[in-house]
Symmetry: C2
Subunit: 230 residues, 2 copies
């Protein structure tokens, strides 16, 4: 207890002077190391495939020991999720550009989104692969970890961006008002990423029941393919 008081006193002491700056620098360095490990992991995983690559390979590439990796990531799967989050962020950044483009109607944005997706899957094959392996890794990734939470967050952001495109289309009159923006964004994103089937199974992540989304999907298809009555 007395010792505790001393410690507290000392740490308060360290508030002034250079000490606090060092703590911050340490934090920055830790973050940098974390990123450099992800860099290494990207190279190794992308070239050998997630399964074949070993943690030792990653450690070597990062010029660290195997044990050190586990100071920064809880497991191989969590490391994969960190890569996935990068993949998602690439998409987010591209989609933001598209959303910003004021020369396009909302409907046209949706059309271009398709092209954006295709382009991504071709020019960033490895990242797209990472994206598709989401389900695999998620199952063995601790829910608590901040990395997993980040992925969830970025994923939500993507859905919001699609919804925003739809919304802008409703605003500018290029898209009907009676559509369910949220459902359609899930459908579009789910179709590209394979998230929709996954969420049907887990029933997580969505306020709307995934089954309902699937129903809506079939409604849309029906609208698109039905023969006009009159």
């Amino acid at each position: 207890m007395t010792a505790g008081h001393f410690l507290t006193a000392r740490s308060q002491n360290t508030v002034n002077g250079a000490i606090m700056g060092i703590a911050e620098r340490r934090e920055r360095e830790k973050e940098k190391r974390r990123e450099s490990i992800i860099d290494a992991a990207e190279k190794v995983f992308f070239s050998s495939g997630f399964e074949n690559a070993t943690m030792l390979d990653v450690a070597k590439k990062a010029e660290l020991s195997k044990g050190a990796l586990y100071l920064y990531f809880q497991s191989k799967n969590e490391l994969c999720m960190a890569i996935l989050n990068r993949s998602l962020k690439i998409l987010v950044s591209q989609m933001k550009n598209l959303l910003r483009n004021s020369e396009l109607t909302g409907l046209e944005k949706i059309g271009n989104l398709g092209k954006l997706f295709i382009n991504f899957s071709q020019s960033q094959k490895d990242h797209y692969k990472a994206l598709l392996s989401y389900r695999e890794h998620k199952e063995h990734c601790p829910d608590n970890g901040r990395i997993f939470q980040n992925c969830k967050k970025t994923n939500k952001e993507i859905n919001s961006l699609i919804a925003a495109m739809l919304h802008s289309g409703v605003e500018d009159g290029s898209i009907r008002q009676d559509i369910d923006q949220e459902k359609i964004s899930i459908i579009i994103w789910g179709n590209f990423s394979g998230f929709l089937p996954s969420s049907i199974l887990t029933e997580e992540n969505l306020k709307i029941a995934p089954a309902e989304v699937m129903n809506y999907f079939f409604e849309l298809v029906k609208i698109a393919i039905a023969k006009e009555k009159e």
Copy 2:
């Protein structure tokens, strides 16, 4: 060489009598054993999860040694694929019933297909899970094996069944004639099974370029959500 002749002579000898019958019985028994291993694997994998379940567990459940499993399946992944094929066949059988139903228009069949899918994913959760893990296992499953080929075949059958529903709709006038039946069936099935993103990546399995299918998907969505001009 001489020995070879003797062998040939003897095996020809065995054509008459009970011997040929025994060979056939053996073949049947082998097939039965194969099925019983899949039975065991289903129970074990479904209850412990694909990752956690071990081949030893399966062997015990099947009342065989571990080594024996490898007389019937090349790998754990191939065994998983065998289960997947069962899952697909359940769907095929249900879809055949739906297709046969002559009281429904083609358009209605497509609508009911959505409900069929949802129902499957809820009542056959484990099989649906197996379905979604296709990609995982495929990568580590020998292309040559007959089991993998079977899965491919059943998968194609499903696409054909959807296409047939669409076709019947065109015939009975409930569905427009200008739709691309093949693409739409891939979209619908891909949306449910996650096969579409997968095939975008691998570019296999489809005569049509997966990217083109994705484009078409966005076209459909646009038709369904666009504001009518006049």
